[in-house]
């Protein structure tokens, strides 16, 4: 188990951070969230193609970078810190992981992965963002005998940016994952709590679809959810670290009662506790990324549940402290803190709440319910 960052990971972080510092300042994010185009497609092109983030998890022989969950975790720390409006989580992690669980020797799957990895297309996995690993295979969409899909999936992340939808559906041969062109589905964006990760309800009415060959489609879906839940912990660490850093920075320069506000001991102690919480969540998130990279399913599941049960609450707590300790200014729309609060609270619900992850841990660590 390696809980540190490798030199390669540090370099990747620097590259992503430099692009975000340049292209994704707080004003830009704030200006975009209420616009018609909530994603920064230019930024995504840059990250996806030039930095290779779109294909980070895709093996080299399929056109990707052949990196592991460890590197994706580092990217998510930075994207979370900046609440960058790009569909990395939905496309390059969630949808891509589902595809990697299909038969990648199959031409259809390989071609789709290659397009995604090249940044030529963006995908979304048609599941509610609140869906957790371990849940039953969804039944809200069904495929008819000609492979056309009908049904509805609510709260799909990054579907609004997607060219392709990967859709779990019940079909004549049982559960399957289907490829659907986004243009063949009705993707309705709604007003979401997290303004920087738009959600949509997606409706299929006899939409043309292609079944993606997979030995075990349910396992492919569940694996994608587990991987994404584990990596979300790193996004949460990124959000929490931003909140801590911004708050410490703010309190170092603000004066009240003739003193630097950051010198008041009660705030110092709260920030010390918060720092410890972030440090701990980072260890848990690193352990999850490392276990996912190593590939031992049981150990990975355990590490993911521990990381999600920890980092979710840490991000929310950090964002809440950031709002409170910024005082009134943190309550304003113009200040970037609220975007992190909304991201953190939405992330708490995403891919399983902390309580749900604890419950999922129960059989793995032999602590059965009453």
């Amino acid at each position: 188990m390696n809980l540190l960052y490798s030199d390669v990971e540090d370099d990747l972080r620097t590259a992503v951070r430099d692009v975000l510092a340049d292209r994704c300042p707080p004003e830009a994010v704030l200006g975009r969230i209420e616009s018609e185009l909530p994603y920064d497609t230019g930024l995504w092109k840059l990250l996806a193609a030039e930095l290779g983030l779109a294909g980070l998890l895709v093996p080299e022989h399929l056109g990707g970078q052949g990196a592991s969950a460890r590197e994706a975790a580092v990217v998510l720390e930075e994207l979370g810190s900046a609440v960058a409006p790009v569909p990395f989580l939905g496309s390059a992690v969630l949808a891509t992981s589902a595809l990697l669980g299909c038969d990648t020797a199959d031409g259809t799957v390989a071609a789709l992965l290659a397009r995604l990895a090249a940044g030529e297309a963006t995908a979304a996995l048609a599941v509610p963002l609140s869906g957790a690993p371990g849940a039953p295979f969804p039944g809200s969409v069904t495929a008819d005998s000609e492979g056309r899909l009908t049904g509805r999936v609510t709260s799909v992340a990054d579907a609004f940016a997607a060219d392709v939808l990967v859709v779990p559906a019940g079909g004549p041969q049982g559960p399957g994952l289907y490829e659907v062109a986004a243009a063949d589905a009705a993707v309705e964006r709604f007003s979401s709590l997290d303004l920087t990760r738009p959600l949509s309800d997606v409706t299929f009415e006899a939409a043309p679809a292609r079944l993606l060959p997979a030995a075990d489609p349910a396992a492919a879906l569940d694996g994608a959810l587990l991987t994404t839940a584990g990596l979300l912990a790193s996004e949460q660490v990124g959000v929490a670290q931003w909140c801590l850093d911004e708050t410490v920075g703010h309190l170092k320069q603000r004066h009240q009662f003739g003193r630097v506000v950051g010198g008041f001991q009660s705030l110092k102690h709260r920030l010390a506790d918060l720092w410890l919480e972030v440090v701990s969540a980072r260890a848990a998130a690193r352990a999850a990324a490392d276990a996912l990279a190593a590939g031992d399913h049981l150990e990975a599941a355990l590490a993911v549940h521990v990381a999600q049960a920890t980092a979710s609450s840490t991000a929310v707590h950090a964002a809440e402290e950031a709002i409170q300790l910024h005082g009134g200014i943190g309550m304003t729309w113009e200040h970037p803190a609220h975007l992190r609060l909304k991201r953190a609270k939405a992330d708490e619900l995403a891919l399983g709440t902390p309580a749900r992850h604890r419950a999922a841990l129960s059989p793995l660590v032999d602590l059965p319910p009453a």
Partner: protein
């Protein structure tokens, strides 16, 4: 005859108050008299706030009798003064004017304030000051010839500013003395051309508050409240009333944020999980205990023996609201990912408990900031209730202009 009329120097009792209400209703039938006229008559009958002095809308009666008046008038279908709309006037401006105002100021301002003909707002907070309210920078400079004050500065977090006819305002009149000593309290005419009100959009998407820019606003010295340089002391009366108002709201069992959470648990079995059950029950217990604590404070006040417990109510209220609304969003699961509407609007009044779980969660974040942060309240409890030493202060004896920024 003697027993039913108040003896001078003796407090009116419930029967006297009831008699007055009957007289008012007899003279002004609520079903026929226009609302404004009725309210003015009620004020003049001393039934506006019975604990105020006679002639100023009251009877010098015990505060507890107000409930009798309100109940009788409500039963008779009388209009009220829409207290939610004019809360700042009623809760903050009025008691301060009563305590520190000249006779002329009391006569001029209290009646239209109470009837709602004149809405008030509060120009205290400033962007650079925060919890250190006394560090404010808005300047009021006296014009030698006219004796008027010319005010320049910026205020923030002003609710109702766009509706207000008058404001209570504190401004720095002497930067050369320590900060608490150089402040003066004014009544500011919001129709002055130097007053500009801009909506301040907040975390919920809406603009419940305003920023107010003051540029060469002219205030006659007759609208100064209290002595020059005494504004900090006058403002304390205002703030004390604000905190009591925020923390001391009477709620029934399951009133407040716990209501929608409990309702969701009851009505939506599909949201329930074993993990959440104990947490929902814990939240219910916490809400009930805050309710009991508030009730105990009200009983102490009614018994004429206010204990120190009042200081903690606002702190408890903020913590409860934040805890319960956060849990509610979690309980809602996928629905918690949705938010009703981010559209920027300027609401006429605010309901902490309104709209959806996401709104409640975000709005409650302000409960520990507005009207005194929870950190300041903890200082107050530690120092004034527990008697622990005050923070080391370096800013109390230094001229305001020499403080570090």
């Amino acid at each position: 005859m003697a027993e039913s009329h108040p003896t001078p120097g003796k407090d009116p009792d419930a029967s006297e108050v009831r008699r007055r209400v009957a007289e008012l209703l007899a003279a002004y039938d609520p079903a026929r008299v226009p609302r404004e006229k009725f309210l003015r008559a009620r004020f003049d009958a001393g039934l506006a706030w019975v604990h105020f002095p006679e002639g100023l809308g009251g009877l010098g009666a015990p505060r507890a009798l107000q409930a009798v008046v309100d109940a009788e008038l409500a039963a008779a279908g009388a209009p009220d003064n829409d207290p939610r709309r004019i809360g700042i006037g009623l809760g903050m401006a009025a008691p301060t004017i009563l305590r520190y105002g000249t006779e002329e100021q009391k006569r001029r301002f209290l009646r239209p304030l109470w009837t709602g003909e004149e809405v008030w707002c509060q120009l205290f907070s400033e962007p650079g000051a925060g919890s250190d309210l006394a560090g404010l920078r808005t300047r009021a400079v006296r014009e030698p010839d006219s004796g008027d004050w010319i005010v320049d500065g910026q205020k923030v977090w002003t609710s109702s500013a766009h509706l207000a006819r008058w404001a209570i305002l504190i401004a720095r009149t002497d930067p050369d003395v320590p900060k608490h000593q150089g402040i003066t309290y004014f009544l500011c005419d919001m129709t002055d051309p130097g007053v500009e009100v801009r909506p301040l959009r907040q975390i919920t998407g809406e603009a419940e508050f305003n920023e107010v820019f003051l540029t060469g606003v002219r205030i006659p010295d007759a609208h100064r409240l209290g002595a020059i340089g005494d504004g900090w002391r006058v403002a304390q009366a205002t703030l004390m009333n604000e905190r009591v108002a925020i923390g001391g709201m009477a709620l029934p069992r399951e009133g407040g944020m716990i209501g929608p959470l409990a309702a969701a648990w009851r009505e939506r079995p599909e949201l329930r999980t074993p993990e959440l059950h104990d947490r929902v029950l814990s939240a219910w217990v916490a809400a009930e205990v805050v309710r009991l604590s508030a009730e105990r404070v009200r009983q102490q006040m009614a018994a004429g023996a206010p204990g120190p417990e009042g200081s903690g109510l606002k702190l408890a209220f903020a913590r409860l609201n934040q805890h319960v609304s956060g849990l509610e969003v979690e309980l809602m699961g996928e629905e918690g990912l949705r938010y009703g509407d981010w559209t920027m609007v300027r609401p006429e009044s605010v309901d902490f408990y309104g709209r959806d779980a996401g709104y409640r969660y975000l709005r409650a974040k302000g409960n520990s900031i507005e009207g005194g942060t929870s950190e300041i309240l903890r200082n107050i409890i530690a120092e004034r209730v527990l008697g622990l030493p005050a923070e080391p202060r370096t800013d109390k004896d230094v001229a305001w202009k020499d403080l570090p920024r």
